[in-house]
């Protein structure tokens, strides 16, 4: 019998747990933000209790009439939620109008606290006088801490009572609203409802029931920066990637020639690999800015009389040129390293054979090196496309982020400037989708070519 070796599984377990916790889980949670409206509608209840049957739902923003209100228990940790309207009820005991001792619940609005314990808990109070001539001058004491329970006694105004206990309640409203011609009535917690100043009307501030929605995606697509961002991102990809591949193959051939001083070349070619994209943006900003190096050189050569402006709203194409140069400068190294590793895997005999048979450099590249490099180029292409979709700091450093904008920049602005994580998640989802689609397309086309060749 073959015994299964568990060691490798134990060794990879920590990384799997970590990636599940900090990668897979937040990723799924987050992408859901783009298509799930957590506060889409508010469920109404038959009674002012969480567990009572639902009468229906009203979407967020519905105008409602407020018919009644009532307090109900609330968990202490829920008190921190915003927009809560609460009321406090006291368990009081005192003498009722017949001189009998009664104990029951009364709303805080009916009791004036007279004495407090050292920690601030009320101990003794008195019944408030009711205002208004037609009101019942007596105050009702209830069996439970709400006005629908049985009345256990009536207290006269100014009766001294002992406060034995207190409870904080959240106010529930009985509301009525219309949804698609139907009138729906039911109870809902005050935290979801915005009451207007007349206290009889209001609107649903936020819902408590989520539903699928396309509104964030629509908001993204209708944003005026969406189309320019998408277009610029794709344009940058189309310009940058081919140039990078040509340059990277040339760099790799230089490295592969194993000249004296090879390691110096390798070091210099690899430097951009470790440079922050923001730093690269600033470096190229120093070249293209109004009083920058490009103008200084041109003026030094006598080609211009006064500095030209490159990075302004009127010269968008120059910003794009600068971004392309900066990205080519920065991200060609990674392609070069992948190509060099690919070249090292090609046997020297094959290359020498081609040379002995008189193939020119171009013929060798075209018919020997490129076909053998295909797997490496495929990986590099996928990697570069995905990274090109994320270009961000370079664009901000060179263009400020409004004149020329890209998808990653819009994601950042939706999250940071407009405080709209849902739309930001929609942008993030779009970037992910484009990355996956391009990766699949590359894998497909290259595979079908191979199959056709067989």
């Amino acid at each position: 019998m073959k015994k299964r070796n568990w060691t490798p599984y134990l060794l990879i377990l920590p990384s799997l747990i970590y990636l599940a916790l900090f990668f897979a889980w937040p990723m799924t949670r987050g992408l859901v933000l783009a298509i799930w409206d957590e506060e889409a509608s508010l469920s109404l209840h038959e009674q002012a209790q969480q567990n009572s049957p639902q009468t229906g739902r009203l979407p967020q923003g519905t105008q409602i009439g407020i018919l009644d209100q009532q307090g109900n228990f609330i968990q202490p940790e829920e008190l921190e939620e915003g927009n809560l309207l609460t009321e406090v009820w006291f368990l009081v005991s005192g003498e009722d109008i017949d001189g009998q001792a009664v104990t029951g619940w009364a709303s805080e609005s009916r009791i004036r606290v007279r004495e407090e314990a050292a920690d601030g808990t009320p101990v003794v109070g008195s019944v408030r006088t009711k205002l208004g001539s037609d009101a019942d001058p007596l105050t009702d004491i209830y069996a439970e801490s709400n006005e629908t329970s049985d009345v256990v006694g009536k207290l006269e105004a100014l009766t001294r009572v002992e406060i034995q206990d207190l409870v904080t309640l959240e106010v529930w409203y009985l509301i009525r609203g219309e949804e698609e011609g139907q009138t729906i009535e039911g109870w809902a917690q005050s935290r979801y409802i915005q009451v207007f100043s007349d206290e009889t009307t209001g609107r649903i501030d936020r819902g408590n029931t989520g539903e699928l929605t396309t509104k964030y995606i629509e908001k993204m697509v209708n944003d005026r920066f969406f189309a320019p961002a998408l277009r610029t991102t794709l344009l940058l990809m189309v310009i940058i990637i081919p140039v990078q591949f040509v340059l990277a193959i040339i760099m790799a051939l230089v490295i592969q020639a194993r000249l004296k001083g090879n390691s110096i070349f390798l070091y210099i070619f690899a430097i951009p690999l470790g440079v922050a994209d923001l730093a690269v943006g600033i470096v190229w900003y120093s070249i293209f800015t109004h009083f920058g190096f490009l103008n200084s050189i041109l003026q030094g050569l006598g080609l211009i009389d006064a500095p030209l402006t490159y990075l302004s709203a009127d010269t968008r194409y120059w910003i794009i040129v600068a971004v392309c140069l900066a990205e080519i400068w920065r991200a060609t190294s990674i392609v070069m390293v992948i190509v060099v590793s690919g070249l090292q895997a090609i046997s020297q005999e094959v290359l020498e054979a081609a040379e002995v048979f008189g193939a020119t450099l171009w013929q060798r590249i075209r018919h020997v090196i490129l076909p053998l490099l295909r797997p490496s180029l495929q990986v590099a292409l996928i990697l570069r496309t995905i990274l090109a979709l994320q270009v961000f700091a370079v664009v901000i450093a060179l263009g400020g982020g409004t004149v020329v904008t890209v998808l990653a920049n819009e994601t950042y602005r939706q999250y940071g400037d407009f405080r709209n994580p849902n739309v930001a998640a929609a942008y993030a989802g779009l970037i992910l989708l484009l990355s996956m689609v391009s990766a699949v397309i590359y894998l497909r086309t290259i595979r079908t070519q191979e199959e056709a060749a067989e």
């Binding site: 990879i12 970590y18 937040p26 987050g30 690899a270 600033i282 190096f293």
Partner: protein
């Protein structure tokens, strides 16, 4: 490229015609080599000249930065004024400290978790190994942008938003796949026979690992760790999303970019670039371990 020596013996008796061909080939080789040098030098200049420009701006007077036409270092006064101005600007020192803390936590966490996994994928053949490698690659290729937003929202709910620790947790998730692959390839470059031999001579597996394998892989693991540090140091998108008060250096520079002066920007740009210059030099031998792996 072949060496002329290889063919010397074969051409000792060669006819004049063959010698003529040989001379032509040698000449062609010399021309090729000169061309390769020229191309290599050109590309090297393309990479170095912008760095030199920004370096000149970082170590001169503020006056020289504002001057037009701009000069480069030997021709403009050398001074630490702009760099000192940048380093003493508000939020920069805390930013550097935050960046270093985040990068070090990321480096330690990432290496500690990745090393066993790297060892496993290089030394064991087990069911699910390919699936594991593939999912690691998928994570590596995942857009950072996509991960930042969800994590920010989750961290906000868990109340660990805006702290260097939550940022380090995220950077670890981003760098770990690369670290696993690099460490895996470093282990793979040490033949398993060495470990076996040590065990034949009476080492326990743990001893064999500690006394034979570990000394050999430590430089490679150090290179992976350094690269992890650089990735974390450079990362700006997630850092700007996840931190507000406790910004890292790139996040701080990015957020003050549009309201800062050129001396500040240029000195900041060069300062962020320095680790790359040093660390790429230290790990240059391992670059192909690092990226070659993903093509295999």
């Amino acid at each position: 490229m072949k060496h002329p020596d290889d063919r010397r013996s074969a051409t000792v008796q060669a006819s004049a015609e063959v010698q003529d061909i040989r001379r032509r080939m040698l000449r062609r080789q010399r021309v090729n080599r000169a061309l390769t040098y020229a191309v290599g030098t050109l590309i090297a200049l393309w990479i170095l000249v912008p760095i030199f420009f920004i370096g000149s701006m970082a170590f001169t007077t503020r006056e020289a930065v504002r001057a037009y036409p701009k000069g480069v270092l030997p021709f403009i006064p050398f001074s630490t004024e702009t760099m000192r101005f940048f380093l003493s600007s508000e939020g920069i020192m805390p930013g550097i400290i935050n960046s270093v803390i985040v990068a070090i936590i990321t480096l330690v966490l990432s290496t500690l978790i990745a090393a066993p996994a790297g060892y496993a994928i290089s030394r064991y053949i087990f069911r699910g190994r390919d699936a594991f490698r593939l999912s690691i690659l998928a994570v590596r290729a995942f857009p950072i942008v996509v991960l930042s937003i969800p994590l920010a929202v989750v961290f906000l709910r868990l109340d660990i938003f805006d702290s260097v620790y939550s940022l380090a947790l995220m950077h670890t998730a981003l760098t770990m796949p690369t670290t696993i692959l690099v460490i895996g390839s470093v282990f793979a470059s040490i033949p398993y026979e060495l470990e076996e031999a040590a065990m034949v001579f009476g080492c326990t597996p743990v001893q064999a690992f500690r006394q034979v394998v570990l000394p050999l892989v430590l430089p490679g693991i150090a290179a992976a760790a350094i690269f992890t540090f650089v990735m974390s140091w450079n990362e700006v998108f997630a850092a700007s999303i996840l931190t507000v008060q406790n910004r890292t250096l790139p996040a701080q520079v990015l957020n003050t970019l549009d309201q800062s002066s050129e001396p500040y920007q240029f000195a900041g740009g060069f300062f962020m670039l320095i680790p790359a210059l040093i660390f790429i030099f230290l790990i240059r031998r391992y670059l192909f371990n690092m990226w070659g792996q993903i093509t295999k």
